[in-house]
Structure formats: C-alpha cells, structure tokens
Amino acid sequence: MVRAKKAEKGPTKGVEARKRAGAWLQERRKVAGLSQVDLAQRLGLKYYTFISQVENGFGRVPIESMEAWARALAVPPGEFARHLLAFYEPELHKLLFEVKK
C-alpha cells in the first residue's frame, strides 16, 4: 500500500506564520500563569490536546472561540483577534489595518 509522507522540513509561509501564532499564544498563556490544562478548562474543552495542537502551529484558534481564548488569556478580544489575523490571514490584515486610504 502507498504510505503518506512525513511533512518535509522547510515550512511554507502559511505554516511558518501559524507556528509563530502558536508561539505567541504559548507566550500569552505563560504570562497569564496558565498550563495547557488550565486553559482547556477555562475554554470548556474536555481535553487539553487542542491547546497543544494550536501552540505547536498545526491548528488555528477557531473564529467562534476567539473571544473565549482572549478572555482566558486576559487579552482584549479585539486586540487578540487582530493579532491572530496578522498570522492567519496576513493579506486581509494588511488590507484592513495597514493599507492607507
């Protein structure tokens, strides 16, 4: 049977940005004095594995739970969403917040 490959080294731009987003989220969590388990509890998750998935740069914070993440990490929700948008959708972030009229 044909086996799937392990993802090669040298991540693409999008993957790299997601990794940076994960590192930023991890930093914010540590500043808030929370473990991955603590954060999962605050978000009402059954397992804390998703926190790890996001912090390792493989998953994204879903839009519908951004506010809950922001409040759990004690970051103003608007600022939190804007910061993550810069990683997840850099072109859109540029259009919304960087391009001058």
């Binding site: 392990k6 993802a7 090669e8 991540p11 473990s35 804390y48 998703f50 998935q53 998953g59």
Partner: protein, 144 residues
C-alpha cells in the same frame, strides 16, 4: 561496574512506539496528505494529519493520553476516543456519524475505518494464500 539505565515509564510514554506510528501512518490518505508528530506540554505524543500544501492545515490530530487515544479535527472538535488504536477507527467512525462533523473529517474517518478493516481482515487472508502457495513454488517455478 557500569549500570545501564533503562528509560523510565514516563520517558517511554512521551514518544510514539514504532508499532503505534506504523498504524497511524497507515491511516493517512496518501493523496496530498502528510503527517507530523509532536507532543503536549506534559509530553503526551500527538500525531497530526496535514492537508495539502501550501497550507498544510491540520485535518486530524491523534493524541495518546494515559492508556487511551483521543481524535480531534483541526478545529478542536472531539471526533472520537478509544482505549486502543485498533478500536479507534470504529469508535471514531461512530462518533463522526453521531455528531454533525465536517465533511472532510468524516471522509478521513471513513478512510481510517476502511484502512483498518482492510489491514485486519484482508491481509491475514492474503498471507494464508501465500503460505498455501509455498509448497507448490518449485512446481510453479518449473513452468516459468
């Protein structure tokens, strides 16, 4: 006298075992998908099924927590949980059918279930047929 230190139970549990990894890699659809391994803050191993490049979004994530396994999609939705990887695809398929999971996740779980079924049921049959052919190998070779 030098004493060779065996890795402790905790150290051993932070990595995927070779047999687990083999089972997990077999579950990844070969068309455009890839995988990566990682771990949680506590050291539990995670296995990520990634979508096609360039985005390589996480489509499924398998984590080993204690004695069991947890399956989530890339948005953190719990798809299944099972005590062993053998039962994992069946449990995951049931969970995906019960809940209104994303189409991609359901497709992947279906693929996982199919792969496990093929490996569990078809491969022993093929191995048996090969064993049955072994005694006739010299005669068959004579025909070639």
């Amino acid at each position: 006298m030098n004493v060779i230190g065996f890795p402790g139970r905790e150290a051993a549990s932070t990595e995927w075992r070779a047999d687990e990894l083999q089972q997990l890699v077999a579950l990844v659809p070969p068309s455009g998908c890839s995988w990566q391994a990682g771990k949680t803050e506590r050291g539990e191993p995670q296995f990520y099924v990634l979508g096609p490049t360039p985005e390589q979004d996480c489509m499924l994530c398998v984590s080993r927590l204690g004695q069991g396994y947890v399956l989530e999609d890339g948005a953190g939705r719990l798809i299944g949980e099972a005590p062993s990887l053998d039962r994992f695809a069946v449990e995951a398929a049931r969970a995906a059918i019960r809940g209104g999971r994303s189409f991609v996740a359901r497709m992947l779980v279906g693929w996982c279930a199919l792969r496990l079924t093929v490996e569990e049921r078809l491969e022993p049959v093929l191995e048996q047929s090969e064993e049955m052919l072994v005694p006739f190998a010299p005669q068959l070779a004579a025909f070639v």
